[in-house]
């Protein structure tokens, strides 16, 4: 698959653009890195220089403080060693971008992670025409179809309302970065007070500084540990790693839930052992992946992570030239998603 004309090739350090001499989301330290978004499996410490979407500067710096980073507005083109580079919204989380490369009459787009459904906390996915499209395939099986997010929020609201009526706390597990803020923006904040885990709250602030409207929230740790009454009727947003930890004791009687695309499958939901599973993902579902790939007009598609084999075979059967890159994004195992190191909580104590 690595022909000399390719604008992006897989190297041990990460995805590499030979004519431009830079990497996209590298997993080993490099000189120059273009970052699609600030989740930990895509944005890592150790590179000399970073380039990322301007909208994502705040969140990237909050996770990798002190790095040498340049922001680029969506759609703005710069020249890197003769390659025209521009970033376009991927709709995944705040500041997420697809990377468009143009060189020698060819156009390649590396999408990072994306979703096509509208999300009030980030710019909507923008289809970009290209010859070759590099896509994720986290939910690349036809069993994954998302309900409109409004219906999911309504379900969360009614769960929270029901718990509040019984003077119970509602603990909602989700990724600290992206999902948490999307949930906060989508739910009915009038039901009761909202508290956040220490891994979530700094990202809320980064989002608000970027101009995203979120309801008022407080840190769980502001409440004395014995004061269980403060959490009656409240919603608590926490990373999945908090489940089952001693940190949970302070809430007294509570109901717990997990918001993730993986909750689509009953087996996964039951294994997770929460009272409720809400199906909400920041990745494209099967129809979303198909429509995004189709909209690029690309004849060649390279799949980077998730359900690689079925997606490649399916695309080949659709008449496309499809292949795969081996990367260190995401993980093959579904379970890994639930306690993924890409979640800030892995390095932050739940006691915060």
């Amino acid at each position: 698959m690595n022909t000399s004309a390719d604008l992006i090739v897989a190297r041990p350090e990460g995805l590499y653009c030979p004519p431009g001499d830079f990497f996209i989301d590298p997993w080993r330290p490099v000189e120059r890195a273009v970052i699609t978004h600030a989740h930990a499996d895509h944005a890592r410490f150790g590179h000399a220089r970073y380039l990322t979407a301007e909208a994502g500067l705040g969140v990237l710096l909050s996770r990798l403080p002190g790095i040498d980073v340049q922001g680029l507005a969506y759609g703005e083109r710069i020249d890197v060693n003769g390659v025209k580079v521009s970033l376009h919204p991927a709709g995944h989380v705040l500041g997420s971008a697809q990377v468009r490369l143009e060189h020698g009459g060819r156009v390649w787009v590396a999408s990072g992670d994306y979703k096509v459904e509208p999300d009030p906390t980030c710019a909507p996915f923008e289809p970009v025409s290209c010859d070759t499209f590099i896509t994720e395939s986290t939910f690349g099986l036809p069993i994954y179809r998302w309900e409109p997010s409004q219906a999911v929020f309504a379900g969360i609201d009614s769960w929270w309302r029901h718990n509040a009526a019984q003077e119970r706390a509602s603990v909602l597990f989700c990724y600290s970065f992206g999902k948490a803020q999307r949930l906060l923006a989508g739910i009915d904040a009038g039901i009761g007070p909202i508290f956040c885990h220490g891994a979530v709250e700094p990202l809320n602030r980064a989002y608000m500084q970027a101009g995203v409207a979120l309801p008022p929230t407080r840190l769980v740790s502001e409440i004395p540990a014995r004061d269980k009454a403060a959490f009656k009727g409240a919603l608590i947003v926490a990373p999945p790693s908090a489940q089952g930890s001693t940190w949970m004791r302070r809430f007294g009687d509570y109901s717990d839930a997990f918001a993730s695309g993986w909750m689509r499958l009953r087996g996964t939901r039951r294994r997770k052992g929460v009272d409720r599973g809400f199906v909400l993902s920041d990745h494209a579902d099967w129809p979303g992946l198909q429509s995004a790939i189709g909209a690029t007009g690309a004849e060649r598609v390279i799949v980077t992570h998730g359900q690689i084999e079925p997606m490649v075979r399916w695309l080949c059967e659709q008449g496309l030239d499809a292949g795969a890159f081996r990367t260190e994004y995401g993980d093959d195992a579904i379970e890994a998603d639930m306690s993924t190191p890409s979640d800030a909580s892995a390095t932050e104590s739940p006691a915060q």
Binding site: L141, P142, S255, R266, G267, R276
Partner: protein, 555 residues
């Protein structure tokens, strides 16, 4: 249909008993009686027979979703449940359905059976197109014959009791036989189920059609502590724990019914036991165990000998002769038409002995045996007798409180029964093949094939001898799943062959020689007892050791 699907989703979505109860009460309070009749039938464990062949269901779903066969198969392997896979892959519906559950079942589902494929296709595609996700999942479960719901029957009883304002024990009694497939659920039957109790009337007068019904079975708890904690041995009656089919034999109005614990009617499967009923007086209900037992023999045959009675379509003379059945009685629940369940066990047993004595000079003597009392002066002596279980072809001991009444289900309020089973056989075996599990274990590699070392001909090879999937914690399942993915050698469809690295202690209840298996043995109820992270594969046990158990076991 929508209301029942909503209930099903709510029951499925929560692990909290209180929330399940709330959801059930909300449903039954508002449902039409004809719908509630079917709903309670399904919730109590009633299963409609499969009405569309699986192959056709998959074909129609693939057509509607536009998927090639391999991609549907890949999807199914990820989901681990066929109805759920179908519900996931179908495109959104274009219409809605307002039909009630009873109409769906009676007019649509039950009439699918035997229809020709073209008709099935048109109807099924049409039905799916008017149902939302949870309704489709439910419908596909119902027509696929694999319907089950995660709610205890006792909880359904409690919900119905609350809605009806009747004591739950009475509803439990009325619900016996509720899922018997010979009587279709109907509004009239449901209304009898939730009818208010007549003033001062302790027992419902049985409806004519309920004449042959048994009593709710009383169940034992596993004993997990030292029996000495139970107090004086004299307060307890010990019996062997027999390995057969738990059953009640009912004789009323000159007729006989034999019911399994799952409330399946077994009368026709055991014609000799039915004939035994002729020797019993009317108004008799015996609780016991059906065993394979040859006339005159002093101990039963292995459970496997009883299986043809259940599995064979027609009971030929040969099947009857090869698997001779006897009823081992251990309780008398009704005598002279009177319910004895509130009397102490000691008194019930005395009456049972007397009843058996009246048969001692008849042909029935070999067909109805009374489970003997195992007598021992103290607990250590009883424990020593328990060690003889395997040689006697039993699973251990039962300990029943001498004063215990005959309760409903696994209750302890009216006295307790304990099952004190012997430890299972166990061997350390090597994990060789893995495939994804179903339900709770879906999309994880949790269904395993285990092997032991065969040292024949001077070469050590691993020979598979058992499949097992239960016994690990969720945490261990995830870890083993990750190792399976990393050590895969080859994939055969859903099955992966592995580089052997892991050792597990495998427990099982019985063992038999079996020429059909490569290992030459077959084991009963294999499961993982623990993950031996302290052992390398070289330290796993051998086939010789496994075969050594054969001599120990009856068979």
């Amino acid at each position: 249909m929508r209301r029942f699907a909503t209930l099903y989703t709510a029951l499925d979505a929560t692990t909290s008993t209180n929330e399940k109860l709330e959801a059930l009460i909300a449903y039954f309070s508002g449902a039409e009686p004809e719908d509630a009749a079917w709903a309670s039938y399904f919730l109590a464990g009633g299963k409609p027979r499969q009405s569309v062949p699986t192959r056709l269901m998959i074909e129609f779903a693939r057509e509607r979703a536009g998927l090639p066969e391999w991609l549907f198969e890949e999807s199914y392997q990820s989901v681990g449940d066929l109805a759920e896979t179908i519900a996931h892959v179908l495109p959104p519906p274009r219409r809605e359905s307002e039909l009630g559950l009873a109409q769906w079942i009676e007019d649509r589902v039950l009439t699918l059976r035997g229809a020709d494929p073209a008709d099935l296709r048109e109807r099924l595609l049409g039905y799916w197109d008017e149902l939302n996700w949870s309704e489709r999942f439910l419908l596909t479960k119902l027509i696929g014959g694999g319907f089950r719901v995660g709610v205890a029957r006792q909880l359904v009883v409690r919900a119905l009791a609350q809605v009806a304002g009747v004591d739950h024990k009475r509803v439990a009694q009325r619900m016996v036989g509720w899922t018997d497939s010979r009587q279709a659920p109907s509004a009239a039957r449901y209304l009898r189920l939730v009818a208010p109790a007549a003033e001062g009337d302790d027992i419902d007068t049985p409806h004519e059609s309920d004449l042959g019904l048994p009593y709710p079975f009383f169940l034992a708890h596993p004993l997990q502590t030292d029996p000495a904690t139970l107090g004086a041995p004299a307060d307890w009656i010990a019996e062997w724990k027999w390995d057969g089919i738990r059953a009640q034999l009912v004789k009323r109005s000159g007729r006989v019914w034999i019911w399994s614990r799952g409330e399946d009617l077994l009368t026709e499967r055991f014609p000799e036991l039915a004939s035994l009923g002729a020797a019993l007086p009317d108004g008799t209900v015996i609780d016991g165990e059906i065993l394979a037992w040859e006339p005159g023999a002093d101990m039963p045959l292995p459970f496997a000998r009883l299986q043809p009675r259940i599995t064979r379509k027609s009971l030929t003379k040969k099947v009857l002769a090869d698997s001779p059945a006897a009823m081992l009685a251990y309780d008398l629940l009704e005598a002279d038409g009177r319910d004895l369940r509130m009397e102490p066990l000691e008194a019930r047993r005395a009456r049972l002995d007397a009843l058996a004595h009246t048969l001692s000079s008849t042909l029935a003597v070999d067909l109805l045996r009374v489970s003997p009392v195992v007598a021992a002066p103290d607990w250590p002596a009883l424990a020593a007798l328990r060690e003889e279980s395997r040689a006697r072809g039993v699973e251990g001991l039962m300990l029943k409180e001498r004063a215990s009444m005959y309760g409903v289900g696994r209750t302890k309020a009216s006295g307790t029964w304990w099952k004190w089973k012997i430890d299972p056989y166990s061997v350390d075996a090597v994990l060789l093949y893995a495939q994804p599990g179903h339900g709770r274990r879906a999309s994880l590699y949790t269904d395993f094939t285990f092997a032991v070392w065969d040292e024949a001909d001077g070469v050590r090879t691993l020979v598979p001898f058992a499949k097992a999937y239960s016994g690990l914690t969720d945490e261990e399942m995830r870890k083993v799943d990750a190792i399976v993915r990393k050590t895969t050698v080859e994939k055969f469809g859903p099955v992966r062959s592995l580089t052997p690295t892991l050792v597990f202690e495998i427990g099982f209840e019985g063992i038999q020689a079996s020429p059909r298996h490569k290992s030459g043995i077959a084991v009963r109820f294999p499961r993982m007892l623990r993950w031996r992270t302290d052992k390398t594969i070289d330290e796993a046990d051998t086939l010789d050791m496994l075969k050594g158990f054969l001599n120990e076991a009856v068979a």
